[in-house]
């Protein structure tokens, strides 16, 4: 019971923090928000000239931020090895 009350209090606290934050956000889908103006225009405008790939998600994923994607694949690998280690039992004839 105490756990629920504490959780509700923390949740209310976090909600108010979130709401305070949201008030200062730019409007949703605003073409002039900073996120659309600072870094991303180069990805959109130069993707074909710099990488030859018309799909910007692929070009950013695999080239501009390819290093992230390498670790993302490693995350999957880590999870696979982790699940193997946690669950898999060795064979009898091993």
């Amino acid at each position: 019971m105490i756990k629920k009350i504490v959780s509700i209090v923390i949740a209310i606290f976090a909600t108010s923090a979130l709401l305070i934050g949201v008030k200062d956000f730019p409007n949703w889908a605003d073409p002039n928000q900073p996120a659309s103006l600072h870094v991303s225009p180069r990805y959109i405008e130069e993707t074909v000239a710099e990488t030859g790939v018309p799909n910007m998600v692929t070009s950013v994923l695999a080239d501009y931020r390819g290093y992230d994607t390498m670790f993302e694949t490693s995350v999957i690998f880590t999870a696979g090895v982790a699940v193997m280690m946690l669950l898999r039992r060795p064979y009898k004839n091993d």
Partner: protein
């Protein structure tokens, strides 16, 4: 443990579906440059074909086609391809993952070398995602007790 339950409709239909799913996953991979798609999506679809096989038949049937050892090697192979391409760029004199330097060994200009470099790493991603998804699914579905595996008491993990 998923045991076998024979049903001819399900088995025939899934046997039909599996090759189509696998070809579709390769299509998703190959067209990732020009349309939505790429290694992750393709890998998941490829893994789904195996999951379908496991559900329609049983685990032993599926593992005959894709043994555990090969799967484990594929897990590492995909990421190895990705990282290996990065190292190749490094050895060719660029920074890590600078695909433009691949033009020294590919018959293209640096921009198209980036294009092909991306294709290479997407393939690596597909292999790893496919193998790991299958491996996680099999481990979770059988709780790790594949055929011929030791019981918990022999392993001694649980007795502590």
């Amino acid at each position: 443990m998923i045991s076998r339950w024979e049903d001819i409709i399900i088995e025939t239909l899934s046997r039909f579906l599996v090759p189509f799913m696998q070809i579709y996953s390769l299509y998703v991979l190959a067209h990732g440059h020009g349309s939505p798609g790429g290694g992750f999506q393709g890998g998941c679809i490829f893994a789904a074909s195996f999951v379908l096989l496991v559900i329609a038949y049983d685990i032993f049937e599926a593992k005959k086609r894709f043994s555990e050892k090969i799967n484990g090697i594929f897990c590492a192979l995909g990421v190895f391809i990705y990282t290996g391409i990065g190292w190749l760029c490094l050895l060719l004199g660029g920074n890590f993952l600078d695909y433009g330097k691949l033009s020294k060994i590919l018959p293209t200009d640096p921009v198209m070398a980036r294009y092909y470099g991306m294709a290479g790493i997407e393939t690596g991603v597909q292999i790893t995602v496919m193998a790991i998804m299958v491996s996680i699914f099999l481990d979770l579905a059988t709780a790790g007790r594949h055929e011929g595996a030791l019981e918990e008491e022999d392993v001694g993990v649980d007795s502590k």
